[in-house]
Subunit: 190 residues, 2 copies
């Protein structure tokens, strides 16, 4: 391999990272509506067409941000889960970590699970970040499955958390009862 080509590929990868980071920062600071191709290009100090030499379209950029964020969430869930021996405490810690992530980084949560970015869920070729995140949920749910199918129960828990996360974000649930909702969910779930 010619070293010049290697250098170019390095620079290309670096710029790729730059674009994704800029999109994430802009979205977190001002919401996804503020993430236009023009503002993004200005931010990375290149012209608009450069974005399209890295990504097929704007959705692909959002998708890249979402995937990175899902990886981050998976790590946090793992940390929460492994910090406790008791299955019940692990479950509570993971639920808190999940809802805390959604509440403190709403733009990222939107990109991950609300906007239509079809990240090819479920299928065999799901991205590893997705599989890792779902795996954390499965691991924490498993002790409580009983006669129920573990994956089904996991989907039910995930849905319950996702519902609270999104309805919280839309201010459709009483904010001062957040703790109570989590406790009720867990008490019925275990």
């Amino acid at each position: 391999m010619v070293p010049i080509q290697e250098r170019r590929e390095r620079e290309r990868a670096e710029r790729h990272r730059l674009i994704v980071d800029a999109a994430r920062e802009l979205a977190e600071a001002e919401g996804w509506d503020a993430v236009t191709t023009r503002r993004l290009a200005e931010r990375v100090e290149y012209s608009q067409p450069v974005l399209y030499s890295h990504f097929k379209n704007k959705d692909a950029i959002v998708r890249a941000v979402a995937l990175q964020a899902i990886g981050d969430l998976a790590e946090r869930m793992r940390a929460a889960r492994t910090a406790h021996r008791s299955p019940a405490k692990a479950l509570r810690a993971l639920a808190d970590a999940y809802l805390d992530f959604a509440a403190t980084r709403p733009a990222l949560y939107d990109a991950m699970f609300v906007r239509e970015v079809d990240l090819s869920f479920g299928t065999a070729e799901s991205p590893p970040e997705l599989r890792a995140a779902f795996g954390e949920l499965v691991a924490v749910v498993e002790p409580f499955a009983g006669d129920d199918d573990v994956e089904t129960l996991t989907e039910v828990l995930w849905s319950a958390l996702h519902g609270q996360a999104t309805l919280n974000q839309g201010r459709r649930l009483r904010p001062d009862h957040h703790r109570a909702r989590v406790e009720v969910l867990l008490s019925r779930f275990c």
Copy 2:
């Protein structure tokens, strides 16, 4: 009141209804992306500015569609609930009605609970359709509250249903396990 003015108000109200209906039909047929002010104006056979003499902006039109749909959902939930004497059967019927509505009319469900249309939830001056819908949930949950706060438990159930509805719509749950998820949720909930 001058009869001419009355006639004009009647015609205005009729056109208002026409716009909302056209927006709903277009959204259900081709998704909200297809609902542009131009296409909407063309559909009701008026020019764009006419829309703005009825609604402050496009969001207000979406909001009107959402409110109508919430009223419809409330009716369906009421019918499902009152069709059964047993609290458990009433709960299952209501859950099925809710998820069926979300699955068969995804565009409407989006407008109601996913898009940011801030319909002023929770507050005292919530629209009656919203209060009616939430009231149906409260009524069906009440027999299962036990020591838990009824409203809190209702919010938890709603979140669980909402989570399944949205994740189903995004094809993020296994489609052929839908029934099993509902049963698991209800069995843990009661």
